[in-house]
Symmetry: C2
Subunit: 259 residues, 2 copies
């Protein structure tokens, strides 16, 4: 199947994968988890992260023979360029929330072709909502199309941030937060992106890996939001970045405070 | 009716008031709000806060002729002592979230008799959950009884905090947060209390007024959680306090870091 010529069908298929992954997660929700630390006691992986990734990779491989797959848990490919069909997946975003709360976590899938964002999906598992689509389709959840959020200034909305970046006052983030209406910390990039897509937060700032922002970037840009490094330069899709997603006026306000 | 002798009936009646208030809020949810600033641009009140308070006060007055009522928006009584029947109500907690997100806000009702917490209720409006009860009844939501959260240490769970207190590093809160599994900021005391009651967060620290913590204190203590000032001393029910609600071991860990 030619993906570009059949985007709506691809959209339907990807949403189907996510629904299956959600069923798997819900069936594991009350079982004890196998939790392992990766880089620190705050950077966790569970059996569920790994099982989800395995399932999604299998689905992508049988759907798209040209796929190169970049996944958080490393069961995909070594991706060194954005040429061709690059799928970027986060099988469970917000693992700490998953372990401690069994809430506020996401599953994300993105497809880039030759570096261009084509389709992105963020599933809020516990609220049973998939936010997905792309520049050609628009952004849809199950029941409706998302409209472009109002282009609010920093002072007129809430700002989501990373806890460690706020505590260490990176980029004068403490002053930036005080200039906003208020600061929020959810602990899942996917859920934070959803808040911005829906206009419930003006923006979100965090140190993110490609799988944390690949899907959100496609959806945010489709809705006329800005996704850049915090200093305003373009993000690198194949490495970690300090990412700012926000309304355009909020981005300007933040850049003025950083410079 | 003698309230103490008819606690289950009183519980049923209070939950009925809350359901009515919720219907009112939902009917206003997509209308423009009349928003006014109180002490600052981050301290808001809306027509909905005021209408809720009026409705709850009217219900209490016709139910309990001995009621003294302390409400956030000042339509109740001037309460100067905890003697007798003292009802403490927050008609809309998390007004900034209500205005900016239409999510993550609560309605709270508490009844104290001669200073003793009898019944407390926190309604998460958008998730349609009422957490309520007291020391004689236990704590129930619509469908089940809450069990006592595991007595986790600070390092083993998430900690909810007030954004301004974190940014100003009051009580070494930045170090305390780094010692926890992670920091979260929701922006509604009621919703934060719910997270602690359900064991999804180890604790919550914020500068709170009586209506912000009166209901949560009753529910938390019923579930063997600790509710004190951040320095470990008892809270004053008639003034603002820097409040810590947490598991007992987390409280000890935090007190050790503050001293």
């Amino acid at each position: 199947m030619n993906i570009i010529e059949n985007l709506w069908q691809t959209d339907h298929i990807i949403r189907g994968w996510l629904k299956e992954v959600r069923e798997d997660i819900l069936s594991e929700l009350h079982d004890p988890l196998a939790v392992a630390e990766k880089t620190s006691r705050k950077d966790l992986v569970t059996n569920v992260d790994k099982a989800n990734e395995k399932k999604i990779i299998k689905a992508i491989r049988s759907f798209d023979s040209q796929a190169k797959i970049l996944g958080e848990e490393g069961q995909g490919d070594q991706v060194t360029s954005m040429q061709g069909h690059v799928w970027i997946i986060d099988p469970l975003d917000g693992t700490l929330n998953f372990v401690k709360q069994r809430d506020n976590f996401a599953v994300m899938i993105a497809l880039y072709i030759d570096g261009k964002g084509i389709l992105g999906y963020i599933m809020d598992v516990m609220r049973n909502r998939i936010y997905g689509g792309g520049p050609s389709l628009g952004v849809f959840t199950q029941d409706n199309e998302l409209t472009k959020p109002t282009n609010l200034h920093l002072r007129d909305g809430l700002l989501g941030v990373s806890g460690p970046m706020l505590i260490h006052d990176k980029y004068h983030l403490q002053a930036i937060d005080e200039a906003s209406s208020g600061v929020r910390i959810i602990g899942s990039a996917g859920i934070e992106f959803i808040q911005v897509l829906k206009g419930k937060q003006n923006g979100y700032i965090s140190h993110l890996m490609p799988w944390d922002f690949a899907a959100g970037k496609i959806l945010a840009e489709t809705l006329n939001l800005s996704v850049t490094k915090v200093d305003g330069t373009p993000v690198d899709m194949l490495s970690s970045n300090d990412v700012l997603v926000s309304t355009k006026d909020t981005q300007k306000d933040i850049l003025n405070m950083i410079r």
